[in-house]
Structure formats: structure tokens, C-alpha cells
């Protein structure tokens, strides 16, 4: 089915189920209990999960397969966002043209940057991509303000032309839609204290993510994917066999840039505004983080990594001192205050500290990310011989 082998089909079906039932899975607690703040089943967060999933899947095609560590992928996301908003300003609020143009523009952009950056490898490549991304960020912030909105960002307005769509609806800016299907609409389902939200935007993004994931699976299993792996393991050997590696790496770079553009376009489709901070190099760092956390070079890794980080970000950053106090209220007062003081820097505004620590821990102890961790745990419980673990692909080789 779908040109996948058995294991991949199983994996793909798991991802389909995860995406389809995410409103249930992410809402494990009823609304009225204290644990409800760990619920992540609201549309904004779920959309973010799948959009960053797409971004990370694309990044993984470059970093996971070829080993080229790009520190500038957020630039493509930002360019995709801007292109998407411009389509909505000029053409129509239908998201399809916006998405197509986002992908195409980001692709062209990454072709340009990739053509230059890929002349170098290793740290030089990282610095070059970083330099280009910072350049885009600075330009978007200053000179290109008429095109990007500068500090305030690019937003829709009532007097945009929207030549094949409508300019306004009842005096309001129309919302993004997919052939009439409103992106911001949602259906609520209340079952015995639980409240599940099914958002159109989420399912739209989810379906696109599934397509993106499917394409990445096919790409991983294709001769092209094999070639990229060969480049990662030894580029010199490739050149000695008379093969020019650069077209392959450039293709991988452009594909991952288009994925980033798609993610940027989807962000716009969910919430039609674009800002320069999406291109900042810390944003590029975040996608690297997601890919590593999940497991670079694995199929499911980036999706998991993106999910975990986006989830942790929104959950940990909402925890404040009073919530911490309510957790430990069963303990003696002195111990309660002590624990709250200890935990305080790690939650709320300090969630980046937690993120940095988790990230360091992963790189130090588990370079293969969550996927490798899962495999190790699996090996502990399975009765396979120890030498089976040796055959596991070594990440970061």
C-alpha cells in the first residue's frame, strides 16, 4: 500500500492515528481537575505542534540525511510567512494560493542560499547559513519594511485589494479559508467533564503534515535518500567514485527549505500575520533542537521532537508560583516553600532554562534523541541478544 514496506506502513498509520486523535490524546484530564493545565488539546497549540512537525521533518531531510548542520532555516520559514501574507493581501483569503506561493518562494530562496552555502562544508556551512539568515532578519527588520512591515510585522488590512477574493466581510477583515472552510472555526464536544475541540485549521494542517511525512518516508527510502546518506558517511569517497555530491546536497537543501516555507505558509493560514522574529537565529536553533531531541536521521524523530518541545513550551511557560504551591500543599510548609523556590527558575518565564538543560542532556547522554532512548528501553525488555543493539544505526556518524 502506498509504496511503503511493512514497518513504514505501520509507522505511517501510527502517525495518522496520532494526528487524527490528537484532540483526545492531548486532553487526558477533565476540565475541572487540577491537572487540566497539562491539557494541550486547544487549537492554537495543536496547530503549532503539526506546523513545527512539518518544519522539523523538512530540516531532518537536510541534517538527518546529509549531516549538513544549517543554522539558518528559520529564514525560509520567515520568507514563506511573508509570501503567504502577501498572497492573502493581494489575491484571496483562500489558503491554497498562499501555501503554494510560500513553498515556491521559499524554494527559490533556498536555491539561492544553498547554491552559495553548499560550496563549503562543516562549520563553514553552518556559519554561512547563519550569516544569510541574520542578513535576511536584519533586512526584514530595517530596509525592507515596506515589504515586511518591519518591527510591527506584516498584517492584513481592510483596504487590501484581494483581487479574486473579497476585501471585507461586514466591515471586518475576512478570515483565511480553504474553499469556504473557515480555518478558525472549531467544533466543541463535551463528554462527561471532558471538553474536546476539533478545529478545522488543525485538521487542515494535520492532513498537510501527513502528506509531508509520507513524502519524507518515500524520500528516505528512495535511491536519492540513499545517496544523501552516502554523502553523510563519507563525502570524499563519493567524489572519488566520480560522483558530484553538490547537486544532491543542493536538492536536499531546497527540499528542506520548501518544507520550511510550507510551515511558514501554514502559520499564516492559521493566523494571518508574519514578523521578522520568525527569522531570528534562535528560531533556527529551535528547529535544530527539535530534530536532535526526537532523533536526527530517523523518520518519526522530528515529529516527536517538535511535539515535545512545542508542548513543553506552552505548558511549562504557563506554570507559575501559585500552581507550584498548589502541587506541594500536602507537604509541610517549609518543604513546600523550599521546593517552590527550587523549581521557580525553571518554570514560567524561565522555561528556556529547562529547555537548555534538556537539550544538553540529550546531546550528552542520548545523541540519538527520543527514538534512540525508546530503542534502548525496548532492548532492555526484549529478549534479543545484546549484539542486536550493535546493529542499530549510529546517529551522528
Amino acid at each position: 500500500m502506498l509504496g511503503l514496506n511493512n514497518a513504514d506502513r505501520k509507522l505511517f498509520l501510527i502517525v495518522v492515528c496520532l494526528v487524527a486523535f490528537a484532540p483526545f490524546i492531548l486532553n487526558p484530564f477533565p476540565d475541572n481537575v487540577g491537572m487540566a493545565q497539562f491539557n494541550a488539546g486547544y487549537p492554537d497549540l495543536m496547530q503549532k505542534l503539526v506546523i513545527f512537525g512539518i518544519f522539523a521533518i523538512g530540516y531532518n531531510i537536510l541534517f538527518g540525511l546529509t549531516g549538513y548542520l544549517s543554522f539558518g532555516h528559520a529564514a525560509f520559514l520567515g520568507v514563506g510567512s511573508y509570501a503567504g501574507v502577501w498572497m492573502m493581501k493581494l489575491l484571496t483569503m483562500n489558503v491554497v494560493p498562499a501555501l503554494i506561493v510560500s513553498v515556491v518562494v521559499a524554494g527559490l530562496f533556498s536555491l539561492l542560499i544553498g547554491y552559495v552555502s553548499l560550496r563549503r562544508t562543516g562549520i563553514y556551512f553552518s556559519i554561512l547559513t547563519l550569516a544569510f539568515a541574520q542578513m535576511c532578519y536584519s533586512l526584514a527588520y530595517s530596509v525592507l519594511t515596506p515589504l515586511t512591515g518591519g518591527e510591527t510585522g506584516l498584517t492584513l488590512s481592510l483596504n487590501d485589494p484581494r483581487v479574486i477574493g473579497v476585501t471585507e466581510v461586514d466591515g471586518n477583515i475576512p478570515v483565511p479559508h480553504f474553499f469556504g472552510l473557515d480555518m478558525q472555526s472549531a467544533v466543541d464536544l463535551d463528554v462527561a467533564g471532558w471538553s474536546f475541540t476539533f478545529s478545522t485549521g488543525y485538521y487542515f494542517a494535520g492532513v498537510i503534515m501527513l502528506v509531508a511525512f509520507y513524502m519524507s518516508v518515500r524520500l528516505f527510502r528512495s535511491p536519492f535518500g540513499l545517496m544523501l546518506r552516502a554523502i553523510k558517511s563519507n563525502q570524499n569517497r563519493m567524489s572519488y567514485t566520480g560522483l558530484n555530491a553538490r547537486p544532491y546536497t543542493l536538492a536536499a537543501f531546497v527540499i528542506s527549505g520548501m518544507y520550511a516555507g510550507l510551515a511558514g505558509g501554514l502559520m499564516v493560514a492559521m493566523d494571518p500575520l508574519a514578523g521578522a522574529e520568525r527569522m531570528l537565529w534562535t528560531a533556527s536553533g529551535e528547529v535544530v533542537l527539535m530534530t536532535i531531541l526526537g532523533g536526527a536521521g530517523t523518520l518519526i524523530g522530528p515529529v516527536l521532537g517538535a511535539g515535545v518541545i512545542a508542548y513543553l513550551e506552552s505548558i511549562i511557560s504557563t506554570i507559575n508560583d501559585s500552581i507550584l504551591h498548589s502541587w506541594f500543599q500536602a507537604l509541610p510548609d517549609s518543604l513546600e516553600n523550599f521546593l517552590v523556590t527550587i523549581l521557580h527558575p525553571f518554570v514560567g518565564h524561565g522555561w528556556h532554562l529547562t529547555l537548555g538543560l534538556v537539550f544538553m542532556g540529550i546531546v550528552i547522554f542520548l545523541p540519538g534523541g527520543i527514538v534512540e532512548g525508546g530503542r534502548r528501553i525496548g532492548n532492555l525488555f526484549s529478549r534479543k541478544k545484546a549484539d542486536d543493539t550493535e546493529t542499530a544505526p549510529e546517529p551522528g556518524e
Binding site: 552559495v116 524561565g350 528556556h352 537548555g356 537539550f359 545523541p367
Partner: protein, 343 residues
């Protein structure tokens, strides 16, 4: 002509900071072979050494002065720093005033300690790992350090002034024979430039004229052979890491009057310093220093209003543009050695 000299001077202080950070980065890379993304954080920690010292020095106790009243008629509370109470108002006041230069003395052992702990505790385990892992783990460390500083000092920049004696500007134009007030240059920036020149000279002299430096240079050229000669090169490299940390820290301490320290200043400088290192040539100390000053001056030229009018936005991107051009035309950077980072 005045304008040109002025821009060169303006570029010097930023160039000095870039040169110092890039020097440390190159030292670490050349000796340990590690790409240290946390080097900007060391710069930032140095700046916060100065902030901490000036906070410690201004620790004060409250007394109620019955002779004076505030606008509500209550007796006024007077804050007297302990230092002023112990050493008298004049001496104590001077000590507080000179907090930033004094912080240099504190920063040297502190930064050396941080450097050793960082190397032994973390970097040591990453020698054999790929460069991508080194980048990632030090990137994570930089986030952690930066967030810890944020937790303690808050997110706002903390102004830390220079000693009063250095406030004001120096009329360089008059010395060079131009009209008075044509070229004004703040004293502290002049101090910063000379300070970094001294540090750069000291590092080079240390590497060039001492036995220790000779061994280190030999280790940079061929680590294995030096090891075979029975020299414990690792221990010396740890010391070099500490020295690099101190250099970055001192650059940060002295930079505080120019830029009020905030928790993300390290990252801002790090990105540019990496560009500097790459332009100068990975592993070349002279290249790092030269490229640091070169890019600092270029950046200040690009900020001239005439140039911005002709090429809008050029001041934002000139460094990156130069980096791209250099890397594509001279792949090893301006003074890069053969065989460094070419695997």
C-alpha cells in the same frame, strides 16, 4: 578626512571586542579542536562580573538622618555604602567609582575557574565527538548560562558607568592638526582599545616567548607528536581554555560602560565573532585579531549616513556580506592554515 578618521576610531572599540572574543574562540579551536558556541556566554559572564562587583561595593546600610527631612516632613533615610563607612567617604567613593576597572582583578580568577570547570566538566567529553555535537552541546550550555543570569539579574540592561575620570570625550582632532571638536572620541573607548591591545599583545607574547607557549604552539601544530615526546599536552590545553575564558571575560568587563550588560549580549556578539573567526581563518590567531578590527571598522564605515543613503541597510549586513565573499573566494579565510577544519 575627519570623517574617515572618526569612523576608523568608532570601529576600533567594537573591533577590539570582536578581536578579543575571536582570539579566545580561535585559541580554543586551535588547541582543543572544539567549536565553542558558549564563548559569547563567557563574554557576558565577564560583563556580569563587573555588575556583581559594583553591586557588592554599593551594598549599604540605612540610617535615619534627623537633620534632614523628605518632602513629607519625615526624617530622611540615608543609604551609606559599607565601603564608604569603612574607608571614609572619599576613598570609599573612589572605590565605588572605579568598580569596573577593579572588576578586572576579580574577573581573572573567576573566569579562569569557570573556564577550567567548563572544560573539565563538559568540553573534555566532546573531543572525539563530531563538530556538530560540539556546536550543539555548547549552544545548549550557552542557553543555560544565559537563562541563569537572567534569573538572577533580570532581563533589563543594567547600566554600569565608567569611572568619572573617563567620562567625556577626548579631542583627537586637535592633536592631529584638525579643527577643534572635529574628531571627538570618548575616553573610555580609547581605554578599551588600549586595554585590548595590551591583552592581545600579552597573549601573543605568552605564546611566542615562553616555554609553555612554545609547547602549546607545538601542540596546535601536531598534538600527537608532542604527546609522544612525553608532554602532557592536555593539561596545557586546559590552561589555554582558561586563558581564552579570561580573555573573553575581560573583554566583557571592560565593555560594560560602552554597552549596558543584558543577558543576551553574549549571543549577539558570538554570532559576529564566529563570522570574524571564519573570515580571519579558523585556527589562525593573527587572522582572528586582524579580521576583528577589520570588520569592526568596516561596520562603522557602513553606518555613515552618506553610505546608508546610497545603499540602504548596508550597515546591518556588511559583516555577513564580507563573510560570504571571503568564504567563497578564499575558503580558508584571510590567514587560514591548510588542513584546519577540512575534514
Amino acid at each position: 578626512m575627519e570623517a574617515i578618521i572618526l569612523q576608523v576610531l568608532n570601529g576600533l572599540d567594537k573591533g577590539s571586542a570582536y578581536a578579543l572574543i575571536a582570539l579566545g574562540l580561535t585559541l580554543i579551536f586551535g588547541t582543543l579542536g572544539v567549536v565553542n558556541f558558549a564563548h559569547g556566554a563567557l563574554f557576558m559572564l565577564g560583563a556580569f562580573c563587573a555588575v556583581t562587583l559594583s553591586r557588592i561595593l554599593t551594598l549599604s546600610f540605612e540610617t535615619i538622618d534627623p537633620t534632614r527631612t523628605d518632602f513629607l516632613g519625615n526624617p530622611m533615610t540615608v543609604h551609606t555604602p559599607y565601603v564608604e563607612a569603612w574607608f571614609g567617604e572619599a576613598v570609599g567613593g573612589t572605590i565605588i567609582d572605579w568598580a569596573v576597572p577593579l572588576a578586572v582583578i576579580i574577573a581573572i580568577p573567576v573566569m579562569a575557574l569557570i573556564g577550567v570547570v567548563m572544560e573539565r566538566g563538559l568540553i573534555k567529553h566532546f573531543y572525539k565527538r563530531p563538530h556538530a555535537d560540539q556546536i550543539l552541546v555548547t549552544f545548549g550550555l550557552a542557553i543555560v548560562i544565559q537563562e541563569i543570569v537572567k534569573a538572577f539579574y533580570g532581563a533589563n540592561p543594567i547600566p554600569t558607568p565608567a569611572p568619572e575620570a573617563f567620562i567625556g570625550s577626548f579631542d583627537i582632532g586637535q592633536i592631529l592638526g584638525f579643527d577643534p571638536y572635529a574628531i571627538m572620541y570618548p575616553y573610555w573607548r580609547l581605554v578599551y582599545f588600549f586595554f585590548s591591545a595590551v591583552i592581545i599583545a600579552a597573549v601573543f607574547a605568552f605564546l611566542q616567548f615562553t616555554t609553555f607557549g612554545m609547547v602549546v604552539r607545538a601542540g596546535m601544530a601536531d598534538r600527537e607528536t608532542v604527546g609522544l615526546l612525553g608532554i602532557d599536552i592536555d593539561r596545557r590545553f586546559v590552561i589555554m581554555f582558561a586563558i581564552a575564558a579570561v580573555v573573553a571575560g575581560l573583554a566583557g568587563v571592560m565593555y560594560t560602560p560602552i554597552l549596558s550588560p543584558n543577558y543576551h549580549m553574549g549571543m549577539d556578539f558570538l554570532v559576529l565573532s564566529f563570522v570574524v573567526v571564519v573570515v580571519g581563518g579558523m585556527g589562525s590567531l593573527g587572522g582572528a585579531v586582524a579580521a576583528g578590527f577589520l570588520l569592526g571598522i568596516l561596520q562603522s564605515f557602513a553606518s555613515m549616513s552618506q553610505i546608508i543613503e546610497a545603499l540602504p541597510g548596508i550597515n546591518q549586513v556588511v559583516i555577513y556580506l564580507v563573510a560570504v565573499v571571503v568564504l567563497l573566494t578564499r575558503p580558508r579565510g584571510l590567514m587560514g592554515r591548510k588542513g584546519v577544519m577540512e575534514d
